[in-house]
Amino acid sequence: MAVVEYKDVSRIYPGSEIPAVNTLNLTVASGELLVLVGPSGSGKSTALRMLAGLEPANEGSIHIDGADVTDFEPQQRDIAMVFQNYALYPQMTVAGNMGFALKQRKVPKAEREAKVLEAARILDLEPYLDRKPKNLSGGQRQRVAMGRAIVREPKVFLMDEPLSNLDAKLRVQTRAELADLQARLGVTTVYVTHDQVEAMTMGHRVAVLKDGFLQQVDAPKELYHRPANRFVAGFIGSPAMNLIPTDRIDGKVTFGSFQVPLDAQTEKALASQPGVAFTVGIRPEHLQLVTSGIPGEVKLLEELGSESYIHVQVQHEDRDQILVVRTDGDATVSRGSTVNVGFNGPVHLFGEDGLRIE
């Protein structure tokens, strides 16, 4: 159980001008599962590797349990890491892999074996203890990598896309098992993924990174309902939120001939905004097909059985604009037909600087 703190941490790789991680401030509570999410190259792995001690921090400091570990070697940090490619020791058996860290700490053999056996039981790895990693399936290797981390009973678990090498179905299953295991063990965990669904389903809180900058840290629900900026709004949620560039006309935000419905709070905040260019954000589930609304043509249908996504092309400020509308069950319209789109839920408004207005 440990608190992890990043304080103004930056990392500039040699030969590069732009920091891969830029003045990161982040606190992970004891026992929390914090997910770092962001597009490729956003600095997630770099942030995690700095916490592991595999990458130095050029600025700022990192604290584990109140102790400044910025200049500590990985060996001194009492953290366990699960790598994307698992990084199992190829010449050792599963038991050897799992017991390696304990062996380095000179834990007596009997105790070591007991701990390995216990972890193997938790992870259903008992039949494979004498096998070499190359004779295991991808899912089993992933569990060995997990086992190697949990026998250590470290202060912090670090995981860098541990599920990305599994097939889609196994990933969903393992995702739930992993979250459950973390909750049972209660070990502070920093989990890196580029998959926002993984982030939303697993994270107690989710930190969104882009270009080395932290965009927002919040509980999944908050991220979904109150994205702090345009990037988070577009990144979280599947399919992505409709983001529509809009100008303010006569103090109102309009959409075609419709006035966008805004709540009183947003209306008030909007009045103090100097700019005229805004972005209106609305999730596909908060749009619906209505009898009278914004007219448009159906360009594409995505039918998943339980729900359908209808891509409707509408006219907005003399431009073509695609709106994605989510409906339950099968779509009742066909490609090329004309439909009307109406609002059915909260609308997000982002200013010229991309920040949320409310």
């Binding site: 060996q75 953290i79 860290a101 380095q104």
Partner: protein, 315 residues
């Protein structure tokens, strides 16, 4: 593949027996169409490699002295019996083993050390690698001459210049320690080769495995012995194998540095018995057959190591 196997029985059922047989015979001729053009090359290889070997076997069963007028005479296994009762043969065999094992062992050891040093990034890395590889590129005869004269000569060699500088008597290495002098030169030449193989092994090691070991609390020494060395095992075996194959056949160095005094190995012994002055081609053939058998055993063992290297790292 699977798709094909599933379809074939159904296909046979509909097209009947005749179709199946026709396909089989056309398959055979198809294979021979591909083999036929290779046949001349194959025959040449057989003639060039196997015929001399068979002839050697025959010669080894004869008494044949090239420097006398005596005709060649079939004597059965007498040459082989002479061989095992000849103390010079046994000393040559022992020299061969000693020279090979010690040179291979030392060059592997030094090669691994150098590879570990060169595996990290530093300024002038490429230049240093090139310099270290050079000895391997030197011709064996030249290497022998350079060491015999420039380095080890008792009156003007570099090493004796140092020894004299320290106030000691110069040492005539080649005559006092003939075998070890050869070993030093062989190690000097073969260390770069071993280094190249080990370096390839080190660079093939996954960096995240090393990082995992770091995170797991292993220090440099235990990482080396528990993770890097097991990983290098097959590379070390490969280096040892190739080293043994080449170094058990060393001739040039011995010829140039000691002319066999106190350091003749089996190939040199064969040379001495045949064109080197003995002119006993029958006996020399018998020795070379023995050498071939030894090499065959080593090569067989080696192929197993090689195939192990190719299949071992599937993970």
């Amino acid at each position: 593949m699977v798709e094909q196997q599933r379809i074939e029985p159904a296909d046979n059922g509909t097209s009947g027996k005749g179709g199946g047989r026709a396909r089989k015979s056309s398959f055979l001729s198809e294979a021979w169409k591909r083999r036929l053009p290779l046949l001349p090359a194959f025959l040449i290889v057989v003639v060039l490699t196997q015929v001399p070997f068979l002839m050697s076997i025959y010669f080894s069963l004869t008494r044949w002295r090239a420097n006398t007028a005596e005709p060649r005479e079939f004597i059965g296994v007498d040459n082989y019996i002479d061989l095992v009762s000849n103390s010079f043969f046994w000393s040559a065999a022992w020299n061969s083993i000693l020279m090979t094992v010690v040179s291979v062992g030392l060059s592997l050891l030094f090669g691994t050390g150098l590879a570990l040093l060169l595996d990290r990034k530093f300024f002038g890395q490429g230049f240093a690698r090139t310099l270290i590889i050079t000895p391997f590129l030197v011709m064996p005869v030249v290497a022998g001459l350079v060491w015999k004269n420039q380095m080890l000569n008792s009156s003007f060699g570099v090493i004796n210049w140092f020894i004299e500088g320290l106030g000691m008597e110069p040492i005539s290495f080649a005559s006092r320690y003939p075998l070890w002098t050869i070993v030093v030169v062989l190690v000097w030449q073969w260390t770069p080769f071993m280094m190249l193989i080990i370096l390839a092994g080190l660079q093939g090691q996954s960096s995240s495995v090393l990082e995992a070991a770091k995170v797991d609390g292993a220090n440099g020494v235990s990482t080396f012995f528990q993770i890097t060395l097991p990983h290098l095992r097959s590379y070390l075996e490969l280096g040892a194998l190739l080293g043994v194959i080449y170094l058990s056949q060393v001739y040039d160095h011995i010829r140039v540095i000691t002319r066999g005094t106190g350091s003749a190995n089996l190939p040199y012994f064969v040379y001495l018995r045949s064109i080197g002055g003995g002119w006993q081609f029958g006996a020399a053939s018998a020795y070379s057959i023995v050498v071939v058998i030894f090499s065959f055993i080593i090569a067989n063992f080696g192929l197993r190591v090689l195939s192990g290297l190719l299949t071992d790292e599937g993970a």
